[in-house]
């Protein structure tokens, strides 16, 4: 059984002119356990919306999103929050670290909502991403590469089954980008977490064996509906 199975997934938004616009229309998508897959797509193609739907940040209009046995599309908002905290890790392009919290606290915060805050575990993960000497530093005191490593640690700390990465290297220089990508892929392998990465960066995509074109996957892109 696949880790992630998506069937007839649809999401639309109402435009300011009152028009209903379909953004995501994916008939079928599968991701296996521990698989690492990249989706190629240009800006505005609906990739982020797709990841938000999988993560339960947005509610689907139609279809099913099975993560293991759980259908995210059928859960209430608070149940989706809980599932997100427990089974998913999310790495953002802009890192999305809380500026008022230290590196350690940012990682701990990721554990808190899953109900398993553990300082030792948080320190271990930060050590794994090479930041054991920056535990009590604030994000503003770190380089962009280091900030992304904190974000990676935060996504991995709950040992999720699935990591979603949305343009994770978009804000990094080429050298740092390669390093961050290597780290994401290595740590996912170590924890046997599946990785679904979306990017439009050909250098990033070239490191993946299986790259899928998001515009072919999303019927809404073909119809010019996605934003």
């Amino acid at each position: 059984m696949s880790l992630l199975a998506i069937q007839s997934l649809k999401k639309s938004f109402v435009t300011p002119t009152g028009e209903k616009k379909v953004i995501v229309d994916i008939p079928h998508f599968l991701l296996e356990h521990a698989e690492q897959r990249a989706l190629r797509g240009e800006s505005g193609s609906g990739k982020t919306t797709f990841l938000h739907l999988i993560a339960g940040i947005l509610a689907a209009d139609e279809g099913s999103i099975l993560i293991g046995q759980t259908d995210m599309a059928r859960l209430s908002e608070s149940e989706r929050d809980r599932q997100r905290a427990l089974s998913l890790g999310y790495i953002f392009q802009t890192f999305n670290l809380l500026q008022g919290y230290t590196c350690l606290e940012n990682v701990l915060l990721g554990m808190s909502f899953a109900g398993k805050a553990d300082k030792k575990r948080a320190s271990e993960v930060l050590d794994r991403v090479g930041l054991s000497h920056r535990l009590n530093h604030y994000p503003r005191q770190l380089s962009t590469g280091q900030q992304q490593r904190v974000a990676i640690a935060r996504a991995l700390v709950n040992k999720p089954r699935l990591i979603l990465a949305d343009e994770p290297t978009g804000n990094l220089d080429p050298a740092t980008s390669r390093e961050a990508l290597r780290l994401i892929r290595e740590t996912c392998s170590e924890t046997k977490a599946a990785l679904l990465l979306v990017s439009h960066d050909s250098q990033v995509l070239s490191t993946f064996e299986g790259v899928q074109d998001f515009s072919l996957l999303n019927k809404a892109s073909n119809e010019g509906g996605a934003k």
């Binding site: 940040i57 608070s78 929050d81 905290a85 008022g100 606290e105």
Partner: protein
Amino acid sequence: MNLFQIVLRNLRQHLLSTIITALSIALAGGLLMSIWSVKQQSEQTFTRVNSGFDAVLGARGSKLQLVLNSIFHLEASTGNLNQTDYDYIRRHPTVKRAIPIAVGDNLKGYRIVGTVPELFTDIEYAPHHTYTLREGKLFDPTKKEAVLGEFAAHQLQLNVGDTFHPFHGLAYDPRNQHPETYIVTGILKASNTPADKVIWIPLHGLQTMGGHDPKAANDISAILIQLRSPTSGFVLDLLYNKQGNRLTFAWPIGAIISDLFGKIGWFDKVLTLIAYLVALVSAAGVLVAIYNSMAARSRDIAILRSLGAHRRTILGTIVLEAATIGALGMILAFIFYFGILSLVSAIIRSQTGVMLNIFSFDFVMIWAPTTMIALCALGGLVPALKAYRADIASNLAPVS
């Protein structure tokens, strides 16, 4: 990290706003508690102060003026009584003790009151408390000697053995100095009553002070009365106030002072209303402070939500944050409270000799902080609902 740790982080992140808002709460809370407490304590204390007497007999006039003049040593005298009036009341079967006093002189604004030594030896100014000397001895009623209240002695820097010249009138005028020289023979221990700010001299000394009308040499300003039984006041009330028209019998003293507080009750209400308004404005300040920071923290909220925080967790965090600002403010409010109360207490003491107990417990110390914290939490509910309704996806920019 638990909810409270997240709240503390938020407060630290917006430290300046937290401090200013908490200070405004502190000032409002301190003001509210002070006004309430001063009002309660003054009324309780002043209606209890009777210097050990049940009633006052004086010349025809206002009962309140008579009590203020003879018990609190404020206001002018209503006029004089003669020796016959004193002899009559002293021997009246309903009267246990009658102490005459004469006023009309001062020393640098502190009243000089003529009386008899029995005031200090026979009268309990409060249950089981008689006036006692801190140093020296009582005045000899036949000599030009004085016993000073503790506050007056301290303010005038007078010690046992020092001498002074009285000044005519109740208000100090350096041109009105009497030629007589009085020597300080004793200083009373503080009684926290109006007696503390008085210079006590023999009755005869004041009656015969140079410059006073020799025809009034036996006149007295008022007679302080202890009754044999509480109900015997009715007999004298009938005798002096209803049947007679020359003298006024002020009884019971507590009720007369209570009546004064009743008359100025509107002023208390205005002050209390102002304090309530200040408290409301401060609570609104919490609302505004947090609401204004919502734009800046919408991204943080979206990040917390993306990490799995429920909407109600975010709502709870912001309400708790507002309540915490309220709680911090109310802790600081007690500093303002004791500061304001100390100042007010010092002013009341200097004006009346009566001391308020600033450390006494008042129920306002419970309900004011509780109400204020609840108001702040209520104020926090507005931005909390905004955060509750916030869309995560749009705040997690950029979108690809």
